[in-house]
Symmetry: C2
Subunit: 315 residues, 2 copies
């Protein structure tokens, strides 16, 4: 008797994406009012620290260490009122906070590193990269949501940061996660790639855009490809998802069946878009393209969407 899950991999493709291996136990719905105080009093508590956009690491230890104590966080100017409790790693509390703008890292052999660089170079363990993605999204959300969108009053962080409450009108505010579709449109042995002005020289990638209120994500895929490249889409197939903490996206990766061929580029979104044959995409993924064209790095879901199509072989 064939099983319902026959043919599906034990580890879904999402697990090949960067930031996908968070092992923090969040306990978001089981937290008490004093959960943060108790976590801070635990000698096993450790912090992921951010200097603005960048995560702090000790690159000289082996393996490089992204975890710090409360004492270290406060010595670097962290604001105790802005601490977020991510959850627990086994029983050990894991927290996150920004350090002060003038923190002097160099004498401490600490470096502030971009998260994309950390995941690209595989400097840290996958669970730490996952936790840093969660930390970055939450810290940026709290930093930008100190006031009540409903009434304008200052809000307070509660239960270690799972929520902000408005003392004036009582509204509860939850961190937001923005769903974004990212998709590879396919026409036989060719796929549609585009580049925006923001991209590194020679890069081409999948098209992408925010899911809008009132859409399925297959509908969002069709709409975005239509708007940005004028291509009509038939079937849409979900492939993998990825948390993308810049600042707080949920990337929803799909393959899409193109049913038209003539590209009409939306120049406000894209600098170029064109069809690439499978062999050329293979070279771009491998960084062996004769003209130096390339895809985003392997940790990005765009790369996984291209790689899985290239490896599937037949068009």
């Amino acid at each position: 008797v064939p099983g319902f899950f026959d043919g599906w991999p034990v580890a879904e493709p999402s697990q090949r994406n960067g930031f996908a291996h968070n092992r923090i136990n969040r306990q978001s719905e089981q937290r008490s009012a004093d959960v943060l105080d108790r976590a801070l009093a635990d000698p096993a508590a450790r912090f992921y620290l951010f200097a603005g956009d960048k995560a702090l690491v000790r690159p000289a230890v082996e393996p490089p260490d992204p975890l710090f104590t409360l004492t270290e966080a406060e010595a670097l100017g962290a604001d105790r009122a802005a601490i977020v409790l991510l959850g627990w790693n086994d029983a050990a509390p894991r927290l996150a906070v920004f350090v002060g703008a003038d923190a002097d890292l160099e004498p401490l052999a600490i470096e502030a590193r971009d998260l994309r660089g950390l995941v690209n170079q595989a400097v840290l363990q996958p669970p730490d990269l996952g936790a840093l993605a969660q930390a970055r999204s939450l810290l940026f959300w709290h930093d930008r949501h100190g006031f009540c969108a409903r009434c304008g009053a200052a809000t307070v962080i509660v239960e270690g940061g799972v929520r902000r409450d408005c003392p004036a009108c009582g509204t509860q505010h939850f961190p937001r996660t923005d769903p974004v579709v990212i998709m590879l449109a396919i026409d036989g042995d060719n796929c549609l790639l585009g580049r925006s002005q923001r991209f590194a020289s020679g890069w081409y990638s999948c098209l992408a855009g925010f899911v809008e209120p009132g859409e399925t994500f297959e509908a969002a895929v069709r709409r975005e490809i239509g708007e940005e490249a004028g291509i009509r889409i038939g079937r849409v197939r979900y492939h993998a998802s990825q948390p993308w903490p810049f600042p707080s996206m949920l990337m929803i990766g799909c393959h899409a069946e193109a049913v038209s061929r003539d590209i009409v580029i939306d120049r406000t979104e894209l600098e170029d878009a064109r069809w690439f044959p499978r062999d050329e995409v293979r070279q771009m993924l491998a960084r062996t393209h004769p003209d130096g064209l390339a895809t985003p790095p392997p940790f990005a879901i765009a790369s996984e969407l291209m790689r899985s199509w290239v490896e599937a072989g037949a068009g």
Copy 2:
């Protein structure tokens, strides 16, 4: 040569869910500053109207009509400053706004109806139900986001409601869509269903929960089932998505392979959870269960997740 999309249906399962057939052309990224004024001046402009939670319809006309003119909207006390431009149906502007709290509908043969009831009874055309879902999400978001979360100042609606801008600090605020995983855990010929205190008597449904920052949605599926029912999950398979405008969710429906059997119910979330054999779920879907147990109605993605598993036959 087998094709990359072989075996996939032309219409994805998402299209079987209620609210999935929105045909509004939003043009969210191509709007000018005066887009709303121009839309209001168009004699083809029509409004979806809400009295609080409920959509207005003229039930006596055939087919029942959910569209109104600007004159009608203003006669019912609509606030011109709160109008949202959904987009266009062909070239005709489609807008949405709340009517006044004391609007007297009965003399006009207009009824205020819950969206779930409208979609359940298939009173309206599917594109109107999709547009009403978009309208409800956007109207509720604007109604609850009149102030800047970053600085507390009053914000202004721009470009027909695709954004709110803060004149004080310059931050742009976009309507939010909250991704929610909803999943049917399967163990051979049995599936896991639960009921919350809020459910109608006798109802059992799939478990569900918000995707948190820093998660893939397969990880969110595993976490939620673990938290709510103590069941461990192996493979996770995406099935369909659904916009759910209460107020603004994107439901991400998955099947999940249970790899443990003993349920531990989180009583803060669920009143009951248990394993149901396939034959019993078939009866619940058909409303023929001997004890009167039932699933949510067919327009809800929970029902589609159960129906597709029941019809797949083998466990």
